[in-house]
Every structure is written in structure tokens, then in C-alpha cells.
């Protein structure tokens, strides 16, 4: 494997990754409500960033540690942020799009007593 071939492979992988980033942004524009925007936006861009960093690794094979740790950081931090914002969005009653078929969480949230019990349980756990 000479340097030219490695750079060609890396460049193609990086372009595929950036296409995923573009796809995430298009999804962000086209989707009808916030939850679907989280689906398209943050997730496609996670894979896009991972592929871009992987492609960049072919250009500097000696820096393997930094690229691996960058991919790992993106992989472990992203689901936490998208889960947190989705939970907050449901809590402040961001409307679901009219195309939604089923909403199982609504029954759970409307039963106030259940929610209070859940709250108490979590509080006792954290203290």
C-alpha cells in the first residue's frame, strides 16, 4: 500500500462521511416535527462525523490514538445529548406531528400519581 492509494481511500471515505452530514441537514429541514428532526439530524451526523474522522486517519496513520479516541468520544456523548433534549421536548409538550399513529407515553404521563411515585423513587436513589 503506497501513500497515494491510502490517500485515495481515505478521501473517498471522508467524502461519504460528509455526504452523511449533508443528509442529516437535509433531514433536519424536511422532517415535520421536532422528534423526527432529532431522528434525522443528530443521528445521521454522528455517523457522518465518525466516517470523516476515519477517512482522515488514512492521511496520518501514525496518529492512530487521537483518531480512535475522537471517534469514541463522538460515539459515547451523542446519544446522551439527543436523549436529554428529546425528554425535555416531551416534558414541555412540544406537539407531535399529525402523522403520528401511536403515543404510548401519553397515558403514562397523564396518570399523575404514577409520575409522582416515579419521581420519589428516583430522588431516593440519588440521595
Amino acid at each position: 500500500m503506497n501513500k497515494e492509494t491510502l490517500e485515495l481511500i481515505g478521501g473517498i471515505i471522508a467524502i461519504i462521511g460528509s455526504l452523511f452530514l449533508l443528509l442529516g441537514s437535509i433531514g433536519l429541514l424536511r422532517m415535520p416535527d421536532s422528534y423526527n428532526r432529532i431522528q434525522a439530524g443528530t443521528k445521521a451526523s454522528t455517523l457522518g462525523t465518525m466516517l470523516s474522522v476515519l477517512g482522515a486517519w488514512f492521511f496520518a496513520p501514525a496518529m492512530v490514538g487521537k483518531f480512535v479516541i475522537l471517534i469514541l468520544f463522538v460515539l459515547i456523548t451523542n446519544p446522551v445529548s439527543s436523549h436529554a433534549i428529546a425528554r425535555a421536548a416531551y416534558h414541555i409538550k412540544v406537539p407531535l406531528s399529525p402523522r403520528t399513529i401511536v403515543d404510548k407515553l401519553k397515558d403514562k404521563y397523564s396518570a399523575d400519581s404514577d409520575r409522582m411515585a416515579y419521581k420519589k423513587k428516583v430522588k431516593s436513589e440519588t440521595e
Partner: protein
């Protein structure tokens, strides 16, 4: 050859950033703006990596590393603010 490919890739990433900005301007609800911000942060990590390759200085990767570990904090803070948990 390799540099040309990376330039194309960073051009596409810039286009993604601009599309995210459109959602940030339009966003009917504040949650939509937060999602657009999150997407732009993640995309800019890729942009920083491309810049470090184009300028030939691999020490710039440390900046991308800081964004990788701290980028999610802003979104979590805003989410906790919205759900009255701060």
C-alpha cells in the same frame, strides 16, 4: 489528489452547516433550534479535522478533541433548563 478530495469533503460539510443554519433561523419552536445547534456542533468537529489536514498541522486535532468531549454539554444544559431541572 488526496488534498482535492478533502477539499471537496469540507465543501460539502460547509453546505451542511449552512442548511443547519436555515433550520436555526426558521425553527418554529425553541427545541428545533437546539437540535440545529447540536447538528452544527457535531458537523464542525469534522470541519476542524479537515482544516487540520489541509493546513498540514496535526496538532490542531486537540481542538477537535475538546469539542468531542465538551460539545454535548451545551445541549444537556438547555434540556435541563427546559424541563425545569437546573
Amino acid at each position: 489528489m488526496g488534498n482535492l478530495l478533502i477539499e471537496i469533503a469540507s465543501g460539502i460539510t460547509l453546505l451542511a452547516l449552512l442548511l443547519g443554519l436555515i433550520r436555526f433561523i426558521k425553527g418554529p419552536h425553541k427545541v428545533d433550534r437546539v437540535i440545529a445547534f447540536d447538528t452544527m456542533t457535531v458537523s464542525s468537529i469534522a470541519l476542524i479535522v479537515f482544516i487540520s489536514l489541509l493546513s498540514g498541522n496535526l496538532l490542531y486535532l486537540d481542538v477537535a478533541l475538546v469539542y468531542g468531549i465538551l460539545g454535548f454539554l451545551g445541549v444537556v444544559i438547555l434540556a435541563r433548563y427546559f424541563e425545569k431541572g437546573l
